[in-house]
């Protein structure tokens, strides 16, 4: 439609375009400003961690120097000490075992649960789905007391296998909820086609649902990984021995002795502990976003 057709004089239209361009410029300026503020806010702690982990103990202790910069030379001594003189490698190994096992258990349980709740309509399935989500809302600081009794009765107190059993209670509800949303967004005709093609329910799940819902499953797996890797309350309550301890609690308890803080090693430990989740996110971020939004925008 040309200008004359809509009855707008050329000069007025030009003014409208300029005003739109000005609005867009302001929107962009504000967006960049707030993005910068958030980036500084969230990147400051990791930056502080890196800087401190690379300083000598002497520089860390000197209050006169600027804590945000390295002024007396870079050292990797804290990393070397952490890996050779502490139980950090054991904590790391334990954390890897606990995380991988609890992610595996979480995925098996929540994929089966989500599939049945999303697709196999049975009496009470709707209530059950809501109920599962509600359990996620109970904080672990309340749950650890009854959980302590259960873990003790199973003889798994002070064993990282106890953590493998306990951590899925935190991850299964949310992962199931994410995947119910994702599975529900898969067209119903797809399972009907599979049924007619001759697939049973497990074949349908394995050959159709899991490949199609992979972004949702990866999103759930990343969530389970993050929760299992970084949990603090349960290992604090259930693990005491150094050889059973995991990274989160082990690093803190072994590197803070009374009022002596091994700042350099603490920061190096935090860096090494943060690396695996960072790597996982870096590679799978696209899947993570796709998985979460698919569940969220389902009509």
């Amino acid at each position: 439609m040309n200008v004359a057709a809509i009855g707008l004089p050329g000069r007025r239209l030009l003014g409208l375009r300029r005003s739109l361009a000005r609005n867009r410029r302001w929107a962009l300026v504000l967006s960049y400003f707030f993005l910068l503020v958030f980036a500084v806010f969230f990147l400051a702690p990791p930056y502080y961690m890196i800087v401190t982990s690379l300083k000598t103990n002497v520089e860390v202790a000197q209050l006169a120097t600027n804590p945000w910069f390295i002024s007396e030379g870079v050292t990797l001594q804290h990393y070397i000490d952490l890996l050779t003189k502490t139980q950090f490698p054991i904590y790391f190994r334990n954390t890897v075992i606990v995380t991988l096992c609890s992610v595996a258990i979480t995925m098996v349980v929540s994929i089966l649960a989500a599939f049945s709740l999303a697709r196999m309509k049975f009496w009470g399935s709707g209530v059950l789905a809501t109920g599962i989500f509600l359990t996620y809302l109970i904080p672990e600081s309340l749950l650890f007391i009854p959980m302590f009794q259960i873990v003790r009765s199973l003889g798994l107190l002070d064993s990282y296998w106890g953590m493998v059993l306990v951590l899925p209670t935190l991850t299964v509800p949310f992962c199931t909820w994410i995947m119910i949303g994702y599975f529900s967004s898969i067209p119903k005709e797809l399972d009907e086609a599979a049924l007619i093609d001759g697939a049973g329910y497990l074949q349908m799940l394995w050959k159709i649902f899991i490949p199609v819902a992979l972004p949702g499953i990866i999103a759930a797996a990343i969530f389970a990984f993050t929760v299992s890797w970084s949990d603090f309350v349960y290992p604090m309550a259930f693990l005491y021995s150094g050889d059973q301890q995991v990274l989160t609690v082990g690093t803190v308890t072994s590197l803070i002795r009374g009022d002596v803080y091994e700042w350099g090693m603490l920061m190096a430990g935090a860096m090494v502990a943060a690396a695996p989740p960072l790597i996982v996110y870096a590679f799978l971020m696209d899947y993570y976003i796709a998985g979460l939004t698919a569940g969220a925008t389902k009509g």
Partner: protein, 365 residues
Amino acid sequence: MAEVALRKLVKRFDRTEAVRGIDLDIPDQEFVVLVGPSGCGKTTTLRMIAGLEEASDGDILIGGELVNDVPPMDRDIAMVFQNYALYPHMTVFENMSFGLRLRKVPRQEIRERVERAADILGITELLERRPKQLSGGQRQRVAMGRAIVRHPKVFLFDEPLSNLDAKLRVQMRTEIKRVHQKVKTTTVYVTHDQVEAMTLADRVVVMNGGRIEQVGTPQELYHAPRTRFVAGFIGSPAMNFLPCRLVENGAVLSVRLSEQLAFPVPEDRTARYRPYLDKALLFGLRPEHLTDPRNHGRPHVREFAVMLDVVEPMGMEAMVYFTIDGTEVCARVEPGSVTGPGRPMRLAANLEHFHLIDPQTELVL
């Protein structure tokens, strides 16, 4: 291949009865189309045949065998869905062979069957592509291919052309008919599009409100509808319905549409209509039987004058709209004979094709 039989089939969803005791016999190799408006129970009936919905009452027989409690995979049927339902993570070859792989058909045979089906449908060059790389028409062909490779007893189509644009729909319609002529498998096809139903079907089943209104060949339904619903549903534009009264002028019966307009009843129908003398009835005549006077010279054609309200030129023909005693009427005429909106025009009604309907029973008399 096999025949399909439905006996007093009922489907209830809570308190709503979607299908109300229908009986239908579909002989081997026949192409039957279930047609009707939304909510008439056609898709529910198809899904019951497929085993995707449980029948609340009645029996479903495929090849003479009662299949009410047989799961879909064991009914030996194949279904083509409205949105294709192709597995997005599989290639076309994998999509088409999925059912065969699950049934442990030897690999060599799978390849042969898929290639033969792909050849029939002209999709050989697409076998390694994934569904998202295909156009709507190609996806529909793959969905049909997935059904063909199985060599099922019955093909079920659930509005397979609804997602395609008008041009492709016509093309795929011909394609489906060609495939059926080649493979000759008993087919049950659901659509709400009566043109699709008429062009594809050996027999059309018109459904309304969970019941079968009429079963017949496209010609039977067009020329001899049994109810007002069928008369109005089949044909495009729809049949005109005008309130009328049957009157007698001497020995001649006439259908009076208004003070000025009355049509004589052909002699062969006089005896049939006489019991309805002086009763309020509905006069039904299709737009194509209400046309230019110059094309008619036969005894059952009656000319009359109208004042045109709206003219819709369509190239090879034109639809003109006018009113008779307050009721809007459509006529299909040659574009050259149209005078224009707000101007008078002479039309001719072909009285060999009119119907009289009892408004109480909605039955065609």
